[in-house]
């Protein structure tokens, strides 16, 4: 049966998708919006995730800065990327959207700050 069941994780609606690959092409049903279709395609061909974590800072009053990938990264690279994230040390007070890492090695995706380090 060339049919795959999955849950769309693009929003809390959590649509239950059915992906039919029988015809050689991907046919998605069960989605309530376009995002569901895109998600299903990606999930079959190249599953990606956005990754959120924290990086260390030199500021004792703000020891950890929350960060996220500005876009999705390959799911199977997540632990590699965590290794990179774990070795970053931020030495400037950043704000949301500020770039922490221009390009995460091995991906084209930037890593950005998501909190305001001046808000103590």
């Amino acid at each position: 049966m060339p049919e795959t069941l999955m849950t769309c994780i693009q929003c809390p609606l959590s649509c239950r998708l059915v992906v039919d690959t029988g015809s050689g092409e991907l046919v998605v049903s069960g989605n309530q919006c376009r995002k569901g279709e895109e998600y299903a395609h990606d999930e079959i061909i190249n599953p990606t995730r956005s990754l959120t974590s924290t990086v260390a800072t030199i500021f004792p009053d703000f020891p950890l800065l929350p960060v996220r990938t500005d876009g999705e990264v390959p799911k199977d690279k997540i632990f590699e990327i965590m290794d990179i994230i774990n070795s970053i040390l931020v030495e400037k007070r950043l704000r949301p959207g500020d770039v922490v890492l221009e390009k995460i090695p091995g991906t084209g995706t930037p890593l950005i700050a998501t909190a305001d380090m001046r808000e103590l």
Binding site: N86, S87, L89
Partner: protein, 576 residues
């Protein structure tokens, strides 16, 4: 005593224990042999009471019951106390040991209190109802009655000197049957004989007026105004701190493991930190007091633990009840105070306790069944309460002897040993009076050898840190202006400020663990049970005692809260 042994033998035979061997040792009856279960062990022990012996030493083994009991022992082992000398060594840092240390500190003596845990009041003295009983439920003529009544009368003064909170809400022993009201005159006469004042019989209407939420099945009550409430761990801390301020030394993580005997004297106290030379030893080891007696070859009683489970209700319930509520115990033979609903000095309501015999002395686990018992038996006394209001629950074990009375006396065979043992309920209520008597006994023994003088620097008032919550507005503002950390609330449920946590860490009796701070400053005791303040308290402890966050414990070493840090790799480069 041959005749006595015969009589015990006969009784045990009739109870179905012909296999139990009897002997006499120093006036006590010793039971040996094997029985099937713990109930039989207890039945045999109780069966041997009342034949003129000093006490029952129940050495019967229970088949299948392995010695696999819970007992916490200190992890440290060193010689830091080896060869140290003290006039008095007190074993046990519960309410009894701490009160004794304080009373003894009126004298010019070198005093050491040894406690096996990392903090005082970790056993029964923080696991009880906090009630100052009026001495009604105790038998006239017993030591329990004697000390309960005297202790009750001392509490106002002690609270004033040591600065702990005390209230006298009074208690109602509720009656479920209308005819029980007829027992009123009898109860009043008994109360008078026992030395109580102001005991009254209340009709259902009167009870309802006083306590509008009272359960519908209640027909009336006996009212006892002389029933008080305290926070038992705070009383213990207060006694201990005043003792330290008057020169006594407290050693935590120090466990008594035996004695070095010289004839009929204790010469040295063996501990995990070396042998301490002692002029006199006071046994205040609570649930283990029979073992301490045994170490000195002076065991004439047996402690069998009776577990009590207690639940604490959210503070928002406090306005639903004013008095201590319990059911009247009219059969008189029950070994418990019956339990009920006790308003707490800190603003919660306490439910319980239960009473179950258990072989395991430090097993404080609770079960769904016990909670259900509390819910079904005690909660309905106040109709405003629901099971949803439970914020926490825990257990304690009462140090009961088969004689069911306190032991407060000098050893008959060891010259320099005084027992304050078997102090079950109402031990908290009795503590001030027990401490005074033990001090008198100890001093009179010591006086035989040396001239003992009063401590010229004794100050009965405990010096303590400010309590912003108890200050008037202006004083509170002055305090916060001088030290803003008293204005920063970190425990939102109990409204505890950072300043108070810092004070607890640096107090006379320092609190360095999450639980110790909870007992001193109440941070983490509220409805969220530390969910919000734990990270802040961890950081404050780590900062104030200058230790790494991974070393901060919930209680004793081995109970570390944090196992490591994230992002070590990034920081490693920077910090080097």
């Amino acid at each position: 005593m041959e005749g006595g042994l015969q009589l015990v033998k006969k009784t045990l035979q009739s109870k179905g224990f012909p296999q139990v061997e009897l002997s006499e040792r120093r006036g006590a009856v010793v039971l040996e042999g094997e029985v099937q279960n713990w109930d039989d062990y207890l039945a045999a022990g109780y069966g041997a009471v009342g034949y003129g012996f000093r006490g029952v030493v129940n050495n019967i083994t229970v088949s299948g019951l392995k010695n696999c009991f819970t007992e916490s022992r200190p992890a440290v082992k060193d010689l830091s106390l080896d060869s140290s000398e003290f006039d008095v060594v007190i074993v046990g840092g519960g309410i009894i040991g701490c009160a004794i240390a304080r009373e003894l500190s009126r004298w010019d003596l070198k005093i050491a209190l040894l406690e096996k845990e990392d903090d005082i009041a970790k056993h029964t003295s923080s696991r009880n109802n906090g009630m100052i009983h009026p001495a009604m439920a105790v038998k006239l003529g017993s030591k329990k009655h004697h000390y309960n009544l005297r202790g009750n009368r001392m509490y106002d003064q002690v609270a004033g000197e040591l600065g702990f909170e005390l209230e006298w809400p009074g208690s109602l022993a509720l009656l479920t049957k209308s005819w029980q009201i007829l027992l009123g005159p009898l109860a009043k006469r008994s109360a008078r004989k026992k030395g109580l004042h102001g005991v009254k019989v209340f009709s259902r209407r009167k009870v309802k007026d006083l306590e509008p939420n009272i359960g519908d099945e209640q027909r009336g009550a006996f009212y006892m105004p002389e029933s008080g409430i305290v926070a038992p761990y705070k009383v213990t801390v207060a006694y201990a701190e005043n003792a330290i301020q008057n020169g006594a030394r407290l050693f935590m993580n120090t466990m008594v493991q035996g004695f070095v005997m010289e004839g009929s004297r204790i010469a040295g106290v063996r501990t995990n930190r070396g042998i301490i030379q002692a002029g006199l030893v006071v046994n205040a080891a609570g649930i283990w007091s029979d073992r301490i007696a045994e170490m000195a070859g002076d065991r004439f009683f047996t402690i069998h633990p009776r577990k009590g489970v207690i639940a604490i209700l959210d503070k928002k319930t406090r306005n639903s009840q004013k008095l201590i509520l319990g059911r009247a115990q009219l059969n008189g033979r029950s070994h418990t105070k019956g339990g009920g609903l006790t308003p707490l000095i800190d603003g919660n309501i306490l439910v319980g306790p239960t009473a179950t015999e258990t072989p395991d002395r430090e097993d404080y686990s609770t079960s769904a069944k016990e909670l259900q018992f509390l819910e079904e038996n005690h909660l309905p006394l106040n109709k405003a309460l629901k099971k949803d209001d439970f914020i926490t629950y825990f257990a304690g074990t009462r140090a009961c002897t088969f004689e069911e009375d306190f032991i407060v006396e000098a050893s008959k065979y060891v010259e320099n040993l005084v027992h304050a043992a078997g102090i079950q309920s109402p031990g908290l209520a009795s503590a001030p009076a027990i401490a005074v008597d033990v001090t008198d006994i100890a001093v009179s023994i010591l006086k035989k050898k040396a001239d003992i003088k009063a401590n010229p620097n004794f100050n009965p008032r405990r010096l303590e840190a400010p309590n912003p919550g108890k200050l008037g507005l202006e004083d509170r503002n002055r305090l916060i202006a001088a030290n803003p950390s008293y204005g920063r609330i970190i425990c939102r449920c109990e409204m505890v400020s950072e300043g108070e946590v810092v004070d607890a860490i640096h107090a006379t009796l320092p609190a360095h663990s999450i639980d110790a701070i909870k007992r001193r400053a109440r941070a983490g005791m509220g409805r969220c049970q530390g969910g919000f303040c734990t990270p802040a308290v961890l950081n404050i402890i780590s900062r104030e005692i200058n230790s790494d966050i991974t070393e901060v414990c919930k209680r004793e070493p081995g109970s570390e809260m944090i196992v490591g840090r994230t992002k070590d790799k990034a920081r490693a480069g920077y910090e080097n």
